[in-house]
């Protein structure tokens, strides 16, 4: 059965999505909505990581339930830079690119969850199917948010 392999990939992708959202939040502290939502939505992925780790042993995988969330020195430096660069309209364009990255990663995770959900139905695994359905809905909301912010910001960032 290959479900374990996909779960391992998904575990990695959710961690990366959380990391990308946190980095977005820190790099764009001057944009308060992106800063706050970036942190909020990263928590969703971290929760998914824990839940994947909890169910993984049933599919022959041992996965770390705690994504690495400790800020590094580099991150502290990025934070200072992000506050300073808040006075430049160029940052808005950088933010749109970063949101695009979030959107693409979230779309990948969404597809992973769809695959897991299909497989769970195929083997009639109620618990896994329930997890996939719930997490997939979260991921869709993460992607929709990034997409909505891209739409909104593009009308300003690309025309100034």
């Amino acid at each position: 059965m290959r479900i374990g392999t996909v779960l391992r990939d998904l575990h990695h992708d959710e961690k990366e999505l959380a990391r990308t959202l946190l980095r977005l939040a820190e790099d764009h502290r001057a944009d308060h909505e992106v800063h706050h939502l970036g942190h909020d939505l990263a928590q969703w992925s971290m929760r998914h990581v824990r839940e994947i780790a909890a169910i993984a042993p049933a599919y022959g995988q041992t996965l770390d339930p705690a994504p690495d969330g400790t800020p590094t020195l580099l991150q502290s430096a990025r934070r200072a830079i992000s506050e300073l660069s808040g006075r430049s309209a160029q940052m808005e364009l950088v933010m749109v690119r970063d949101l695009r990255d979030v959107y693409l990663r979230a779309s990948g995770v969404l597809t992973d969850w769809e695959m897991i959900g299909q497989a769970a139905q195929a083997i009639a695994d109620q618990e896994l199917h329930e997890l996939a359905t719930r997490c997939q809905a979260d991921t869709k909301r993460q992607a929709t948010w990034a997409n909505a912010k891209i739409k909104e910001s593009s009308t300003q960032a690309l025309v100034v």
Partner: protein, 825 residues
């Protein structure tokens, strides 16, 4: 001094006996009771006030108007003598107030006659604002606009307006900005006060529009007030409730508020939750209604979608669980649930305690859900009042001067955009609609990053009212920003402007406006504006002419100029929409007193309640909004909405509780909430210039609980420092009955009446020095109610009480406080 209170219409009044001196209405805020029983008509009581030395026989003319110092819409006549306003008198036959007036109505008009009104346009030369002509000022504005349109296009220009102009003025602004300049950056300070009301109504009913009516007070057997200190914010509405409470068969009252407001004191059940936990509390109340079996299941099945999801969500919020989140006894939550579940005619009202708090829209929507579960909407006594804070906020929303499209049209529905384009005679592509109109906090962000280079502020004072003032000052004082401020005084914000346009105030111009319960009033010009001050409508129309704004046929975009012509244009724009004014005219509003929209040929006397019989404006083709994700704020797509709600039912939206972003920590162990007092309005520009109101609440204060006063060695009258990560404020201490762990600061006090003018001196005075830049993702309303703060003593008081009013929520906890001290003497 010969002030008096008119208890009966002037014509019938024959002596002074039995009347209460008006000056007592500062301490006797709600006046005498006129009790009435359930289902009876609220008795009349005519309140009035005339200036010292003026008698009713001295009055040359009484001019019809209504209040612009709160959102209640109290109708009154302005007394004029020798070309000056000399007083006011309530309109007995008005549906809103039945003659009554509150302290701000009685005394607030004096602000008009202040000697420091703006009387000339001002322009910045060599760093200083100097007087100039209207031509010079407008040419500077027009030149700046044209230059930026050439260099960058409409995205360089933003408009930030208010909730205090007239309908005609907002409509002119919306047409000029959206249809003429074609910028998407138009919003009002209504973002700070009523954005959540609008969003919550859109989420639940597909469209903005107040379901309830003030007359629901007459019929309700229970009234629930959620974060709404009505006794101070809408005094006349509270008088109506007090009169029901004094009559036979009084309603039960539920109050949700962390402060011991007059409402809390009168309540059957009072819940004082920890700030930032409203959604958890609401979920527990819905949990109780469902588990008690009080859901009107056939009604829910026939008229709503989304019930199953709500049932599943609130199942997790038992009173015991929520009791620890909110720090409210579970037994009280159950009592509140019983009160709501047993009611046969429930009226709910919601205001800033929910709107300016964490998860604002999610919490306000749960109040709508409560009524949907119980099938209590559109019938006498069964009303929802998602309140407004400002007198004309409703019109900012309707006319599209606040981040909506005119006439509650849906910006993401191409048919709606095309319909508006038809009315304006412009191409649909000329009206920006690729994305939701930019909200105020985002406008400020674009000013900060330099992509908005011209900001035109009308009738509001962001340098005091917006959160995190140090940031706001640094944004608006940027050299690269062209700042235009249109106001009646040289406010803190005006002092930063490049061009200042002196506006005529209420009473000096004619226009219509609409209150919380959709009642439209006409306010006629009573006196001339001072100096060269001009009505806001005239300024916007003049701008359109000078800009040579054209429709698609090359004719002028703005074809009208008088208020009545503008009103008639708006009637056409609103025709067929939920906020339909097509049956209203100035003549109809004149003499009569107050008509509720929709007012059409079919409903010539207006419409008392919306959604009778469970019929909503929520079908995919009609709705104003497809809704948003309450937690992320992302707009729903049309297809999603069609799938969710194909038949246009009310939408029950569930929400999980999430902790606030800024929680108390070791350095900031308390929670700061900001708010208002009955004696002042907004940033105090008008009320501080009315001597009685200013004397009643002359200076900022800070409320702490007796427990926290003990912990931090604070006594009544001590000078304290309140500090958050953003800044500090010095204020004298009022030890009150506020919830322990919570600190309250009134937000009215800025710097225009201090030596520094627009910024703090050594220490902060404005509450917004301390608030954080964060907002509700769905309504984009900033959060003023969950900042983590510390408090420490700066110096001992001299034994006198703090300047906080003793008559209201800020009353001292100990009656031993010197009763001659404090603001209200």
């Amino acid at each position: 001094m010969y002030p008096f209170l008119i208890r009966t219409p002037v014509a019938e009044r024959n002596d002074e006996e039995g009347t209460v001196p008006t000056e007592d209405r500062i301490t006797d805020i709600w006046g005498e009771r006129t009790p009435y029983a359930r289902g009876e008509r609220w008795p009349q009581r005519v309140d009035g006030h005339l200036a010292a030395g003026v008698d009713a026989s001295d009055v040359d003319a009484w001019v019809q108007s209504a209040s612009t110092l709160h959102s209640n819409g109290d109708a009154f006549d302005i007394a004029v003598r020798d070309g000056c306003v000399v007083g006011v008198r309530g309109r007995a036959d008005d549906r809103v107030n039945h003659g009554r007036l509150g302290p701000k109505d009685l005394f607030g008009w004096q602000g008009l006659q202040s000697s420091d009104r703006l009387t000339h346009p001002l322009i910045r030369r060599d760093g200083a604002l100097v007087e100039c002509s209207w031509d010079e000022a407008m040419e500077a504005v027009v030149g700046g606009t044209k230059k930026l349109l050439d260099e960058q296009g409409p995205s360089a220009i933003g408009f930030y307006t208010t909730g205090q102009l007239f309908l005609e003025e907002y409509y002119a602004l919306a047409l000029v900005a959206h249809g003429g300049i074609r910028t998407n950056h138009v919003d009002g300070n209504t973002r700070l006060c009523t954005a959540t009301a609008a969003e919550a109504l859109k989420e639940s009913f597909g469209c903005d529009g107040q379901p309830g009516s003030y007359t629901d007070v007459d019929h309700a057997d229970a009234i629930a007030l959620f974060g709404h200190n009505v006794a101070e914010t809408q005094t006349v509405l509270w008088m109506r409730i007090l009169d029901r409470l004094a009559g036979s068969d009084p309603p039960a009252i539920l109050c949700v508020d962390p402060r011991p407001t007059p409402v809390a004191r009168a309540a059957t059940v009072h819940l004082a939750p920890r700030p930032g936990t409203n959604v958890a509390l609401m979920n527990a109340l819905l949990h109780e209604v469902i588990s008690r079996g009080d859901v009107d299941e056939p009604w829910v099945r026939a008229h709503t979608v989304g019930y199953d999801d709500l049932e599943k969500t609130v199942a997790r919020y038992s009173p015991d669980v929520v009791s620890t989140i909110c720090d409210v006894p579970a037994v009280d939550i159950r009592a509140a649930g019983r009160l709501l579940g047993e009611s046969q005619a429930l009226l709910s009202t919601v205001l800033q305690g929910f709107y300016q708090s964490h998860q604002a829209t999610a919490a306000a929507v749960q109040v709508n859900n409560l009524h949907l579960l119980r099938g209590m909407i559109g019938r006498p006594g069964c009303g929802i009042l998602q309140m407004n804070g400002q007198p004309t906020a409703q019109n900012t929303r309707e006319c599209g001067a606040d981040g909506d499209m005119a006439g509650f049209r849906n910006w993401s529905n191409t048919d709606h955009v095309a319909d508006l384009a038809r009315i304006w005679n412009v191409e649909p592509t000329q009206i920006p609609h690729a994305t939701p109109p930019t909200h105020a906090m985002q406008i400020m962000r674009y000013v900060e990053d330099g992509s908005i280079r011209m900001l035109w502020v009308s009738g509001t004072n962001p340098v005091v009212s917006m959160p995190e003032l140090a940031r706001m000052r640094s944004i608006l004082s940027q050299e690269r920003l062209f700042l235009v401020v249109q106001d009646i005084y040289l406010t803190e914000t005006a002092q930063l402007a490049d061009v200042v346009l002196p506006a005529a105030a209420w009473g000096e111009k004619t226009g219509a406006f609409t209150n919380v319960d959709r009642t439209v009033h006409l306010s006629e010009k009573a006196v001339e504006p001072p100096g060269q001050a001009r009505p806001d409508l005239e300024i916007f129309v003049d701008f359109a002419r000078r800009m040579d704004l054209k429709d698609k046929d090359g004719a002028p975009l703005v074809t009208w100029s008088t208020p009545e012509e503008a009103f008639d244009a708006w009637r056409e724009c609103s025709r067929g929409r939920p906020c339909d004014y097509s049956g209203l005219t100035y003549d109809k509003l004149r003499g009569g007193s107050g008509v509720q929209w929709p007012c059409t040929e079919d409903a010539p006397d207006g419409t008392e309640r919306l959604y009778a019989g469970g019929a909503f404006w929520a079908s995919p083709d009609e709705c104003e909004s497809y809704g948003r994700d309450l937690e992320t704020g992302a707009p729903l797509e049309e297809q999603e909405y069609r799938a969710l709600n194909p038949y246009g039912r009310a939408v029950i939206k569930a929400a999980d509780y999430r902790p606030a972003h800024e929680l108390p920590d070791e350095d900031h162990p308390l929670q700061l909430i900001t708010g208002r007092t009955v004696y002042h309005f907004h940033t105090r520009t008008r009320t501080a210039r009315a001597p009685e109101l200013q004397a009643a609440a002359p200076e900022v204060w800070v409320e702490v609980s007796a427990r926290d006063a003990g912990s931090y060695d604070l006594r009544e009258g001590d000078l304290a420092e309140v500090r958050t990560r953003r800044g500090e404020v010095h204020a004298r201490v009022r030890v009150s009955g506020i919830r322990p762990g919570v600190v309250f600061l009134p937000f009215h006090y800025g710097y225009w009446d201090t030596a520094e003018g627009w910024r703090p001196g050594e220490h902060g005075r404005a509450a917004n020095e301390l608030t954080l830049t964060d907002w509700d993702p769905a309504s984009k309303q900033p959060i003023f109610k969950t900042a983590a703060c510390s408090v420490r003593k700066v110096s001992d008081g001299d034994g006198t009480a703090s300047p906080a009013p003793r008559t209201t929520a800020s009353a001292p906890v100990s009656m031993s406080v010197d009763t001659t001290g404090g603001g209200t003497r």
